[in-house]
């Protein structure tokens, strides 16, 4: 059969419901999609972030409200607010470290290789999750 008429494999967009469960992403793929997820999360929770900044820094009375909110004195149970803030901590750490990886790849041609992409992605995931666990333990008063 001539080269042009040979049947070629067809790649279409993946289906979110049928394919995502069996779709295996490489480490760099996880870093990439989590960069988006963490960015969108911080964007959606931006009013909460500004509220945390406002109450913590405005006055001693508002600072009191800031600390009591984490003890359950606000309109959310304390553990739920801590859980949301833990998600924010993870989002910031992941976005920060993955962002540095991005900038590094932008300025260095040596960093744009298959091997560096893989190892730096694994480092990003380990660091962001590890630091989240350490800071989360502090947030929930484990030490």
């Amino acid at each position: 059969m001539p080269e042009l008429t040979r049947k070629r494999p067809e790649f279409r967009n993946i289906n979110a419901f049928k394919d995502l469960t069996t779709y295996r992403l490489p480490a760099a793929g996880w870093v990439s999609i989590l960069h988006r997820v963490s960015g969108l999360l911080m964007f959606l929770l931006l009013p909460l972030i500004v509220w945390l900044f406002d109450t913590s820094v405005s006055s001693e009375i508002s600072f009191e409200r800031f600390t009591s909110a984490f003890a359950g004195g606000g309109w959310l149970p304390g553990w739920l607010l801590k859980l949301v803030v833990l998600a924010l901590i993870w989002a910031y750490l992941h976005h920060f470290i993955a962002g540095l990886r991005h900038l590094w790849m932008d300025v260095s041609h040596d960093a744009v290789s298959k091997q560096f992409g893989k190892t730096s992605a694994v480092v990003t995931l380990v660091l962001s999750i590890g630091l989240t666990v350490v800071l989360g333990a502090k947030l929930f008063g484990l030490y």
Partner: protein, 121 residues
């Protein structure tokens, strides 16, 4: 930058997104620098971090000015990033326009609030 709107629009070539791409990197670098400054200031606070020592971090005029610049950088950075998400996943033009407007209003409202908190300190 070539004109990419109106009757003088250049429809060939590339680099339409270069300005936003570069702005996203520069704002990211500024925010990373700010993170380090804040981290150093928090770590070098003596004793437990209470209201006085926390508020004192933002008391210096240069820190206020830097924080102000970071707030604006954050809004610009988030605008580029969130718009990328809408452009990748949301195809109907009407819905995309609504989301773009929502994103701008959301970011500007948060920016105004944060700036108000900062400059009344």
């Amino acid at each position: 930058m070539s004109v990419n709107y109106g009757s003088k629009r250049v429809v060939t070539g590339a680099h339409y997104g270069a300005r936003d791409w570069l702005a996203q990197r520069i704002t990211a670098a500024l925010m990373a620098l700010f993170t380090l400054v804040l981290l150093v200031k928090v770590l070098f606070t003596s004793g437990p971090l209470g209201y006085d020592s926390w508020a004192a971090i933002f008391a210096a005029q240069w820190m206020k000015a830097l924080t102000f610049a970071v707030f604006i950088a954050l809004a610009y950075h988030a605008w580029v990033g969130v718009r990328d998400i809408w452009m990748d996943y949301v195809k109907p033009a009407g819905l995309r326009l609504v989301l773009h407007v929502f994103t701008l209003v959301w970011l500007l409202a948060c920016l105004g609030w944060a700036v108000q908190v900062l400059w009344r300190l």
